[in-house]
């Protein structure tokens, strides 16, 4: 029946999922080594980190705001994480906990300022970006920390099972957690409610201030996870971690069907958005495409995804109008 067909295609993740599948099949035909265990390992490592980054942005998109400071959170946590291990010999587990706390705290602080002042998140996170990045630079003077313990390095570079890296673990936990959060947890529903209709949420007795702080704290927490995952993967505490998160952190959720105005996001869609970006990045390298062209392709990809989303929205709107 036409209806159920439409319904399936209304799922945000189906489109990007099919594209990912097609891309994987297509590339592996031309380049069989694409599916080699090591390449899968490499792909999964990249996807893992980028997924956590994208989730950090997703939760803010869900509430109808944007977080420009995501990368600054991640970078600050990354260097703090290594710094306390190198300088004070803090064990990795404890350092991880402290890192998470710093991320959540930085995020929560940003959220607090946004919620209490009512100033647009764009401005506050722009200021946050500078402040947190500035603290990062002030502490490191732009020099990396090298004292990453072997166990952390191993976590970022060893495989858990066959071609599956350990890094997949935090990604899966974060993804399932976020999925559950948006689908089932009160806080997740409140975030979506505020993104969907803030006045209604307010009048229904939702504590908007607290929810906004929660959302930003979660965003900071995810940025912290991503920052520490990168430390593990790069085996070095680079102050530049996080500098280039912004574009992909928006691109993946948008490809995955998130509504920028808030109230509607898809964790699965975002995942496939991340997969598509990872595959394209790899394909450009594999097929030795002129490095100068890479930027153009990435930009085009965002436009393409936006176009698809837009078409789908129009079609759904038309469908609703007809049945209404």
């Amino acid at each position: 029946m036409a209806l159920s067909f439409t319904r399936i295609f209304d799922n945000d993740w189906v489109g990007p999922g099919l594209v990912s599948l097609a891309a994987i099949i297509g590339i592996s035909i031309f380049q069989p080594s694409f599916l080699s265990p090591f390449n899968i390992f490499v792909l999964l490592s990249a996807i893992s980190v980028n997924m956590v980054i994208a989730l950090g942005q997703l939760v803010i998109i869900a509430i109808g705001q944007m977080n420009l400071a995501l990368g600054a959170f991640g970078g600050l946590v990354a260097i703090c994480f290594v710094a306390i291990m190198e300088l004070y010999g803090v064990p990795p587990i404890l350092a991880t906990v402290i890192g998470l706390a710093i991320g959540a705290l930085a995020g929560g602080l940003t959220g607090f300022v946004i919620a209490r002042t009512g100033i647009s998140a764009f401005i506050i996170t722009l200021a946050g970006l500078q402040i947190f990045k500035g603290i990062n630079l002030g502490i490191t003077e732009a020099q990396p920390f090298y004292g990453v313990p072997q166990s952390v390095k191993d976590f970022g570079n060893l495989s858990m099972l066959g071609p599956i890296p350990w890094l997949v673990l935090p990604m899966i936990i974060a993804s399932l957690g976020m999925w559950y959060l948006f689908a089932r947890l009160r806080i997740g529903r409140y975030i979506l409610a505020i993104g969907g209709n803030r006045t209604a949420a307010e009048l229904s007795g939702i504590n908007v201030t607290a929810t906004i702080i929660w959302a930003h704290a979660i965003s900071g927490l995810l940025a912290a996870i991503a920052g520490m995952m990168l430390v593990a993967r790069l085996q070095i505490g680079q102050p530049t971690i996080g500098d280039d998160w912004l574009i992909s952190s928006f691109a993946a959720p948008v490809i995955g069907g998130a509504v920028l105005a808030g109230g509607h996001v898809s964790v699965a869609g975002t995942f496939f958005g991340v997969v598509i970006i990872a595959i394209i990045t790899q394909a450009l390298v594999l097929f030795a495409i002129d490095p100068f062209v890479v930027q153009i392709v990435l930009g085009g990809l965002i436009l393409w995804a936006v176009g698809i989303n837009r078409l789908r929205e129009l079609r759904v709107a038309k469908f609703n109008a007809r049945t209404a």
Partner: protein, 342 residues
């Protein structure tokens, strides 16, 4: 909080409104101007060299360029949108200028307008895509920033145009009265022109109307789509103008002058208009505010550098300043509202 519909209906006093003088006294612009005066005074007294002709010249030149970048962003913030690709457009236009002036040997009075026109064309591409797709300009310009910059790097292979006529660099170094950069004067002229444009022209007014409430503007007979596209074109043209000013300053058209993807411009681009009181939601601009915003940032940066705070902390200081400035503005508005003055 609840039904805002009635809030304005009922008891918003119609006769109460501060006099024009009062409003000026409480305006964002005046607050900024006072801050600037205080900062300038403090630096002038405590920092030897701050008021030297060379220092004033470089500060003025920086203000000129940053203001222009801020104005470029302001022109599109009017629509309630934004343009992440200002830097990319600026660099692309500068490279086109370099190509025209150096490779094609086209005289400067033609090459410069050509480059500005090119900036407007790139702005048109942004605007057209935003209007026709109905997608938020954040995403569109995020993509176009990549594309514009990528194509530029692809075509130039990252090579600079550094054999421009000597007069280009001379312009960047030209001082009037020993301490005033001619670039600053150009920017002041553009500020004046834009102020007139927004206040005394049909298109300028239509931009403000379409930005404040596109639906109402459309239903009042304004071709909102076209007007929004022209906002993006104005942004493109102003970004190109800023690109040319930077070219004059560096004496060459350099692909890296706005950083990777032109991202280096984003901070000054937002900082100046936001500090200056331009509403991010659209519909209201402050050209003078943008000028003052850029001035404030430049003077503070310059002062902090001279204080030897440590270069690495300047970023954090600027961020803190932005935060304090918006908080102060919010506080000012609350006071005004409590007194029923707005």
């Amino acid at each position: 909080m609840t039904d805002t519909l009635h809030a304005t209906d009922n008891f918003m006093p119609e006769q109460r409104r501060g006099s024009a003088v009062m409003r000026l006294a409480l305006s964002n612009e005046l607050g900024l101007a006072v801050l600037i005066a205080i900062a300038f005074g403090a630096f002038a007294i405590t920092l030897p060299g701050f008021t030297s002709p060379f220092s004033l010249f470089t500060i003025g030149r920086q203000i000129g360029i940053d203001t222009m970048i801020g104005l470029a962003m302001m022109a599109v913030i009017v629509t309630g949108g934004l343009d992440l690709s200002v830097g990319a457009i600026g660099v692309c236009a500068a490279m086109v200028f370099g190509f025209l002036a150096q490779k094609m040997g086209i005289p400067l009075p033609l090459a410069a307008p050509g480059a500005i026109l090119f900036g407007a064309v790139l702005g048109f591409i942004n605007g057209y895509t935003v209007v026709r797709s109905g997608v938020h300009s954040f995403i569109i310009t995020l993509a176009s920033m990549s594309i514009f910059f990528g194509v530029m790097i692809f075509l130039t292979q990252a090579q600079s145009f550094n054999e421009l006529p000597a007069s280009v660099q001379a312009l960047g170094k030209l001082r009037v009265g020993g301490m005033v950069s001619v670039l600053l004067l150009i920017t002041l002229a553009v500020c004046a022109a834009l102020s007139i444009f927004y206040r005394y022209t049909v298109l300028g007014r239509q931009m403000l109307a379409a930005g404040a409430n596109p639906r109402a503007a459309e239903l009042s007979g304004i071709r909102t789509g076209r007007v929004i596209i022209s906002c993006h074109m104005l942004t493109g043209a102003l970004a190109a103008f800023a690109g040319l000013m930077l070219t004059a300053r560096t004496g060459a058209a350099v692909p890296s002058m706005a950083g990777h993807l032109g991202q280096d411009w984003l901070l000054p681009a937002f900082l100046a208009p936001v500090l200056g009181g331009t509403l991010l939601s659209g519909g209201r601009v402050s050209v003078v505010g943008t000028l003052l915003g850029a001035t404030f940032v430049t003077i503070m940066t310059s002062g902090l550098l001279l204080m030897r705070v440590g270069e690495f902390w300047i970023l954090a200081c600027l961020g803190l300043m932005l935060l304090l400035a918006v908080l102060a503005d919010r506080f000012r508005q609350q006071v005004l509202r409590a007194r029923g003055m707005i």
